[in-house]
């Protein structure tokens, strides 16, 4: 068990180090996230009441789009230089190695995204309860995005065109978006958000349990 934990952290450390060595890879999706958020006030005008109503929705949709762009980086470089094949040949379960890589992706992409989203909400002076709901939903939701995303990336890795990835992934993201937006709306109205939070947490647990296994299976198929 201890050995498995060690391997998990070695892979995690490796992926984090690779990301920091190649900063563009993980900064570009975040830049995209910020730019798209800025586009909305330009399109809808600077009417602050309207914007306040839309902000949390804008943040969530932009987060989904930015995730689509960032996901490829989970496996692409490994696929190109062949190290993913080396990983499948080790005596450790591929599920474990894959979950380390997904965790790394969430740390590189999800955590900065949450921070930027909160900063945006703060600058646009969202009410406190909305900010709290936004924070909790992003905290529970972004890992799900990375987990489900990893499956589709594993399926489409090495295929031409990134469009296919977005086509496959966005329908699968809809429940997360719906529950998060319900929570944010209820919070804005001053109502309890416990039900939605529990449901998001449930989806997260389900994704954490099944997604690494599925991703490993998908990778094996692609490499066979």
């Amino acid at each position: 068990m201890n050995e498995y934990l060690k391997i998990f952290f070695i892979i995690l450390q490796r992926d984090l180090m690779l990301a920091f060595r190649n900063k563009a890879e993980f900064i570009n999706p975040l830049m995209f996230f910020i730019i798209v958020i800025i586009l909305f006030p330009l399109a809808f005008g600077s009417d602050s009441a309207l914007l306040k109503q839309l902000t949390s929705g804008i943040i969530w949709i932009t987060a989904l789009l930015a995730t689509c762009l960032s996901l490829e980086s989970i496996f692409r470089s490994d696929f190109e230089d062949g190290s993913i094949e080396q990983l499948t040949l080790t005596r450790y379960p591929l599920t474990l190695l894959v979950s380390a890589k997904i965790t790394a992706h969430w740390m590189i992409f999800g955590i900065p995204l949450i921070i930027i989203a909160l900063l945006t909400g703060f600058v646009l002076s969202l009410p406190n309860q909305t900010m709290l709901a936004l924070f909790i939903t992003l905290l529970l939701g972004t890992p799900v995005l990375s987990l489900i995303g990893a499956i589709t990336v594993a399926l489409t890795i090495g295929l031409r065109g990134g469009m296919l990835l977005s086509l496959l992934i966005l329908p699968l993201y809809m429940p997360v978006l719906i529950f998060s937006m319900l929570a944010v709306q209820n919070a804005t109205l001053g109502q309890s958000i416990a039900a939605e939070i529990y449901f998001l947490a449930g989806i997260l647990v389900l994704a954490m349990t099944l997604a690494p296994i599925t991703t490993a299976a998908a990778l094996r198929i692609r490499l066979s």
Partner: protein
């Protein structure tokens, strides 16, 4: 144990492409006959015999296409995902072919359900489209089908395509109840179920019977068109085997 063995042997014989190709021709002929009879009975009963609805007038009759199509859209997705899973686990070629051939039919039924629902919605709700729970989840289902087809066509190797598609279909199947209920709680306008209630259907018998006929007609139509597609796919899969070559030679001799 012996029963299990018999079943096992039967299963493998049935799943062998050549055997399936031979028997499916007869099956599909019978299914076509059942399909046509049920279609005629269902359409006559639904459009002529059934009385007009006291609230919706004659426009409720679109139900006889809309409801079976919507049922089929979910049913075919289940077939696709389960047979994909069988192909993934036991490497049964026939299951892969069934999954692959089901996708376009399922997508078509989903599209049909959406279009007929929209046509029904215009006189009833006064609008072609609302962001209602049922409509939205059906639309998402259409995108799941299209994503599956897109993924299938992205691979050159048929076996890899089938297995990758199976994984996507299974992930989608886990997601379908979640999508369904999430959308349900998010917003709803669509009328509740009237047939599948456990105690007693709240639909009158004279309206229900044509609907059941139409359901059987749609099911057999799916089975027939699936068999045609599967037979074509089998020929493509097995084009290098001796029995397909023999079949082609026989066919050439007959046409000459």
């Amino acid at each position: 144990m012996t029963m299990y063995k018999t079943l096992h042997r039967w299963f493998h014989q049935f799943a062998s492409p050549k055997y399936f190709y031979d028997i499916s021709h007869a099956i599909s002929r019978w299914l076509t006959i059942i399909c046509i009879i049920c279609f005629i009975a269902g359409l006559y009963g639904g459009l002529v015999l059934a009385p007009a609805d006291y609230q919706q007038g004659d426009s409720f009759r679109i139900m006889y296409v809309h409801v079976p199509a919507a049922w089929m859209s979910l049913f075919i997705y289940m077939v696709m995902a389960i047979s994909g899973g069988i192909g993934l686990i036991w490497h049964i070629k026939l299951a892969e072919i069934v999954a692959k051939s089901s996708a376009p039919i399922g997508a078509t039924f989903t599209f049909l359900a959406l279009v007929t629902g929209s046509i029904w919605g215009k006189p009833m709700w006064g609008t072609w489209w609302v962001w209602d729970a049922r409509l939205t989840s059906e639309l998402i289902l259409l995108f799941l089908y299209l994503g599956y087809i897109a993924l299938q066509s992205a691979f050159e190797d048929r076996r890899v395509a089938a297995r990758a598609g199976a994984i996507l279909a299974l992930v989608g199947m886990v997601n379908i109840p979640i999508i369904h209920y999430s959308v349900e709680w998010w917003s709803t306008l669509h009328q509740g179920p009237t047939v599948t209630k456990l105690d007693k259907p709240s639909i009158h018998l004279s309206m229900l019977i044509p609907l059941l006929f139409m359901t059987v007609a749609f099911k057999t139509f799916y089975a027939t068109s699936l068999l045609i597609r599967v037979r074509t796919e089998i020929l493509k899969y097995e084009c290098n085997t001796s029995w397909v070559k023999q079949l082609l030679r026989d066919y050439k001799n007959v046409t000459n």
